[in-house]
C-alpha cells in the first residue's frame, strides 16, 4: 500500500502556543481520513502545515514521495494538493465560473483558459452550481459558497483533497447533498483528508480517523475503534452516551 | 574638528525640530492605527495650522502660543467633520477608496487655500529669546515647541490609557468588530480618533509656523516626513512616533555635518523603504 501523504513528527508553534506536537500519520491512496477533535485542537493548523500556509518547524511532510515540508502553498497546489477553507474564501468580484477556472488553470494539470472553462462547467454541474456560473461569487449564499470552495478544489483534479468543515453551517438536507458529493469524489479515486464536526458523517464516511487534542494526536484507528477509545471519549466526546450512539452509527 | 563644530551647531536644532516632526507624525499614525486609513489630507491640515498661527499673531496681534489651544479644538472639530463627510462611507472599502477620499480632501483644502491665500510665502516673525550653550544657540521658539509637544504627548498618553473614550479608542484599534460587540459606539470613536489625529497635525503646523516661512503647500513636506516617522516608530503607535520624530530630527542634524544637505531626503526615503521592507511594524513595533 503506497502512502500518498505521510507526516512524521510534525510540530508547529505560534509564539508561546504549541499548536501541534509531533503529529505523524500515513494516508494511503484512495482512502478518506477523518480528522476530529475539539475546537482549538489544531486541526486547521495541521491543514495549514500540510499545504504550506504555515510550514512546520519540526518534522517532515512527504507528498507523493517528495519532501514538501518547506514548500509554498502554490507549490503544493502544483503537485496536486487542493483544499477548501473552513471560512469560505470566494473571489467575490469574479464569476462563479471564473472562480472554478482558477482552480483548473493553476492546479497540477496546468490547463489553458479554454480547457479550464470546460472543466469548470463539468465541475459546477457535478456540485450543482451550474445555473449560477455567471453570477458573481460574492452574491452566493453560504451553502453555495461552500459548494464553490469544493468545486474550485475539484477543478484542480487533485491527488489529495483537504476538506475543512465543508458541512459546517449547512442544514440537514444540504448536508445530505454534500455527503453524496464527497462520496462521489472518492469514487473518482481522489484521496481525502477531512476535518469534520458532524460525527454521524465522519463515522460513516471515513476509512480511518485521527483525533487531535491540544495539538497532540491522541488516537488513530477505524471509526469503531475511535468510538470505543476511552481517551477520545474523555477528551472530546465527553458524554459516554454520545459515544455509544456514535458506535451505533458506525 | 570643523565637522564636530558643525555637528554641535546643527544637532540640537535637529533634535528640537524632531519633537515637532514627531507631533505631526503622531496624528498620522493614530489615525492609521485606529482605522487603517492613510490620511493624505495630513499635509494641508498642517498648513492650515501654520496659517492659524499667522492669523493669531499677525492679524489679531496676540502671542502666537495663545493660539495653540483654540487651534487644537478647531483641529479636532475639523477632523470630525472630515471623517463624517469623506471617510465614514469608505471605512470598510478597499484601501484605494480611503486613500483617494482623503486625497480629495487634500485637493479641496489646497484649492481653496491657494485661491484665498496664494502660494507666496507667509512668515510669523516672532522671537522668543534664545539660549546660549557654549557655541550653540537654541532658539526660544524651538524650545517652546518641544515643550508643547511633550505636553501634547503626555496628554495623549493620559487620554488613551486613563480615560474611558481613550480606552475605547484602543479597543477599536485592536479589534473593531469585537469592540462593537462589547457595546462600544465605534462610529463615534472612529470620528473622535480622526479628530484627534487632525488636531495633532494642526498643532504641529501651528508650532512650525514660528520656525520657517510657509505657504499652503508647505504641509506636503511634513506629510512625507510623517510617513517616514510613522514607519520608523511603527505605524499605529503614537508614542513611537515621538521617538521616530527625534530620530529623524537627529539624522537631519547629523547628516549636514558630513554630507551636503541635499543628501538628507535621499537618506530619509531610502531608510523609509528599507525599514518598511525589514520591519514593517517599525523599529519599536512587535515583530509579526
Amino acid at each position: 500500500m503506497t502512502s500518498l501523504l505521510s507526516l512524521q513528527g510534525v510540530s508547529k508553534r505560534f509564539g508561546g502556543l504549541q499548536a501541534l506536537t509531533k503529529v505523524s500519520f500515513d494516508l494511503p491512496e484512495g482512502q478518506i481520513l477523518g480528522l476530529i477533535g475539539p475546537n482549538g485542537a489544531g486541526k486547521t493548523t495541521l491543514f495549514n502545515a500540510i499545504n504550506g500556509v504555515y510550514p512546520p518547524e519540526e518534522g517532515s511532510i512527504l507528498f507523493r514521495g517528495r519532501d514538501v515540508t518547506r514548500f509554498k502553498p502554490y507549490e503544493h497546489a502544483r503537485l496536486g494538493m487542493a483544499r477548501t477553507h473552513q471560512i469560505v474564501q470566494p473571489l467575490n468580484e469574479l464569476t462563479v465560473r471564473e472562480n472554478v477556472m482558477v482552480g483548473a488553470c493553476f492546479g497540477h494539470e496546468n490547463h489553458s483558459l479554454g480547457q479550464a472553462a470546460r472543466i469548470a462547467d463539468e465541475v459546477l454541474e457535478f456540485v450543482g452550481l451550474a445555473v449560477r456560473s455567471e453570477q458573481l461569487a460574492g452574491s452566493l449564499n453560504v451553502a453555495q459558497k461552500k459548494r464553490l470552495e469544493l468545486a474550485r478544489a475539484l477543478a484542480a483534479r487533485p491527488h489529495l483533497l483537504l476538506l475543512d468543515e465543508v458541512l459546517a453551517g449547512l442544514n440537514s438536507s444540504e448536508i445530505d447533498g454534500m455527503v453524496q458529493t464527497v462520496l462521489k469524489i472518492r469514487e473518482q479515486g481522489v484521496t481525502i483528508l477531512m476535518i469534520e464536526h458532524v460525527m454521524k458523517v465522519v463515522m460513516n464516511v471515513s476509512d480511518r480517523i485521527i483525533v487531535l487534542d491540544y495539538g497532540q494526536q491522541i488516537a488513530e484507528g477505524s471509526p469503531q475503534e475511535i468510538a470505543a477509545n476511552q481517551r477520545v471519549i474523555e477528551a472530546y466526546l465527553g458524554d459516554p452516551k454520545l459515544a455509544e450512539s456514535l458506535m451505533e452509527e458506525a | 574638528m570643523q565637522q564636530f563644530n558643525l555637528l554641535l551647531a546643527s544637532l540640537p536644532d535637529g533634535i528640537l525640530l524632531g519633537f515637532v516632526y514627531g507631533l505631526a507624525a503622531m496624528g498620522l499614525t493614530l489615525i492609521w492605527g485606529v482605522m487603517n486609513v492613510i490620511n493624505l489630507a495630513h499635509g494641508p491640515i498642517i498648513a492650515l495650522g501654520m496659517f492659524s498661527t499667522f492669523f493669531v499673531y499677525s492679524k489679531l496681534g496676540l502671542n502666537p502660543y495663545l493660539g495653540v489651544v483654540p487651534i487644537a479644538l478647531l483641529g479636532l472639530l475639523f477632523g470630525i467633520l472630515i471623517y463624517a463627510v469623506a471617510v465614514h462611507r469608505v471605512i470598510n472599502a478597499p484601501h484605494l477608496s480611503s486613500l483617494l477620499a482623503t486625497f480629495s480632501v487634500n485637493m479641496i483644502i489646497i484649492g481653496l487655500g491657494t485661491a484665498a491665500l496664494t502660494t507666496s510665502p507667509y512668515n510669523v516673525d516672532f522671537f522668543a529669546g534664545s539660549l546660549q550653550l557654549g557655541s550653540t544657540t537654541l532658539l526660544g521658539t524651538r524650545l517652546i515647541a518641544a515643550f508643547v509637544t511633550l505636553l501634547f504627548t503626555g496628554g495623549l498618553y493620559f487620554f488613551l490609557y486613563r480615560t474611558r473614550p481613550g480606552k475605547h479608542i484602543r479597543a477599536v484599534a485592536n479589534n473593531r468588530a469585537a469592540a462593537e460587540l462589547m457595546g462600544i459606539p465605534s462610529t463615534r470613536i472612529l470620528a473622535l480618533s480622526f479628530g484627534l489625529g487632525t488636531m495633532l497635525a494642526a498643532v504641529s503646523g501651528a508650532l512650525i509656523a514660528t520656525f520657517f516661512p510657509f505657504n499652503i503647500l508647505s504641509g506636503g513636506g511634513y506629510e512625507l516626513k510623517s510617513f517616514v516617522i510613522g514607519v520608523l516608530g511603527g505605524l499605529g503607535n503614537p508614542i513611537g512616533a515621538l521617538f521616530g520624530g527625534l530620530i529623524l530630527g537627529m539624522l537631519e542634524g547629523i547628516i549636514p555635518a558630513f554630507l551636503e544637505t541635499s543628501w538628507v531626503p535621499v537618506i530619509e526615503f531610502g531608510l523609509f523603504v528599507a525599514i518598511l521592507l525589514v520591519r514593517p511594524n517599525g523599529l519599536f513595533g512587535a515583530k509579526k
Partner: protein, 323 residues
C-alpha cells in the same frame, strides 16, 4: 469567428486611439494635437497602472517613478550617447521594466497601505537621488540640444512624429492591458486581487505573478517618459517625478473603472476634459483643484466601481462588450 470573439474587446479601444490620432489632421488645428497628445499620454499611463492597480489590486502611489526614470535613461542615451529616438524609447522602457523587476521583488511583499507608502517612498527617494546624480545633470537635469531634432526633419516635424509615436505607445499599452486581461496570467492576477492567500492555495505563484504585473505596468510609462521629454526638450527632477501625477493616474483609473480595459481610456478623457474645462472656466478657474477634489470625493463615495464598472453592474449584457 473565433478570432472575433477573442479580440472584439479591443475594437473600441483601438477605434478611440485611431480617432485621437487623426483628429488633429482632420481639424487642422495644431492646438488640438497637443490636447490629443495629453489624452494619449494619459491613456497609456493609466492603462499601464491599471495592470497593477485594477487587475492585481496593488495601489501604487508612486507609479510616475517609472515615467521619470525611463525618461531620464532615454534622454541621457539620446542626448549624451547620441542614440536614435526609437532605441532610446526602447531603452527607457526596458530600464523602467528592470527597475520594476528589482523593486517588485522587494516591495510587493508589502500589502495594502504599506505597499502604497513604499511606492511613495521609492518615488521620493528616486527624485532626491536623481537630484544628486551628476551624470543626469543633478537638479538642472538634461536639456536637449536643438540640433537633436535635425535628424527628425526639424523641431516641427519632430513634434509631429512624436505625436504618432505617442499614439502607437497608447495602443501598445492598451494591447498589453487587453492581452493580460484575457489571459490565464490575468486570471491569476484577478485572483490575487480578490484574495491573495486563497489564490496561492489554488496554485498561483503570487510573488512571481505580482512582479511580472509590476514589470508590465512599468514598461510603457518608461517609454512615454522618453517620448515626452524628447518632445519637451528637457527633463528635470521636478517634472520627472511629480507625486501628484501618480495620484492623477489613480483618479483616472478609478473614474473610468479599475480592472477593465476601457475604464482607463474613459477616465483619461473624463479627467483631462474636466481639467481642461475647469482651468479655462471663468467661474472655476481659481478653485479648479477644489472642484476636482469635490468631484473625486463624490465618485469615491458613491460610484467606487467607476463608470465602466457601474455600467457592467447595471447592464449585465454589456459585460460581453465592455472588457
Amino acid at each position: 469567428m473565433k478570432l472575433w470573439n477573442q479580440y472584439r474587446g479591443l475594437i473600441a479601444p483601438v477605434l478611440v486611439v485611431a480617432l485621437l490620432a487623426v483628429w488633429p489632421m482632420l481639424t487642422g488645428k495644431p492646438a488640438n494635437r497637443e490636447s490629443a497628445f495629453t489624452i494619449l499620454k494619459a491613456i497609456a499611463l493609466a492603462s499601464s497602472l491599471n495592470i497593477l492597480l485594477g487587475y492585481t489590486g496593488y495601489v501604487s502611489f508612486g507609479h510616475i517613478v517609472f515615467y521619470g526614470f525611463g525618461g531620464y535613461v532615454g534622454i541621457f542615451l539620446l542626448s549624451g550617447m547620441g542614440w536614435p529616438l526609437w532605441a532610446s524609447i526602447l531603452a527607457g522602457g526596458l530600464a523602467s521594466g528592470l527597475l520594476a523587476f528589482l523593486l517588485g521583488s522587494a516591495i510587493l511583499r508589502l500589502r495594502g497601505g504599506y505597499f502604497a507608502l513604499a511606492t511613495i517612498g521609492v518615488n521620493e527617494a528616486m527624485r532626491a537621488f536623481i537630484n544628486k546624480f551628476d551624470l543626469f545633470g543633478g537638479p538642472t537635469g538634461i536639456t536637449l540640444n536643438f540640433s537633436v531634432y535635425k535628424a527628425y526633419g526639424g523641431a516641427a516635424q519632430a513634434l509631429q512624429t512624436s505625436f504618432y509615436i505617442g499614439a502607437a505607445l497608447a495602443l501598445l499599452a492598451l494591447a498589453i492591458s487587453y492581452l493580460v486581461r484575457t489571459s490565464k496570467f490575468g486570471l491569476g492576477l484577478l485572483a490575487i486581487r480578490e484574495n491573495e492567500d486563497a489564490a496561492e492555495v489554488m496554485g498561483i505563484a503570487a510573488p512571481w505573478a505580482k512582479t511580472w504585473a509590476y514589470v508590465l505596468s512599468a514598461i510603457v510609462p518608461g517609454m512615454i517618459g522618453v517620448l515626452f521629454f524628447f518632445k519637451n526638450g528637457n527633463v528635470e527632477p521636478g517634472d520627472a517625478f511629480p507625486l501628484h501625477a501618480s495620484i492623477e493616474l489613480l483618479v483616472m483609473v478609478m473614474l473610468g473603472g479599475q480592472g477593465t480595459v476601457l475604464g482607463p481610456i474613459l477616465g483619461a478623457f473624463a479627467y483631462q476634459g474636466m481639467r481642461g474645462y475647469l482651468v479655462t472656466s471663468p467661474v472655476f478657474k481659481d478653485i479648479q483643484l477644489s472642484v476636482s477634489g469635490a468631484l473625486l470625493l463624490l465618485i469615491v463615495l458613491f460610484i467606487p466601481a467607476g463608470a465602466i464598472g457601474w455600467l457592467r453592474q447595471r447592464v449585465p449584457l454589456l459585460r460581453r462588450v465592455l472588457a
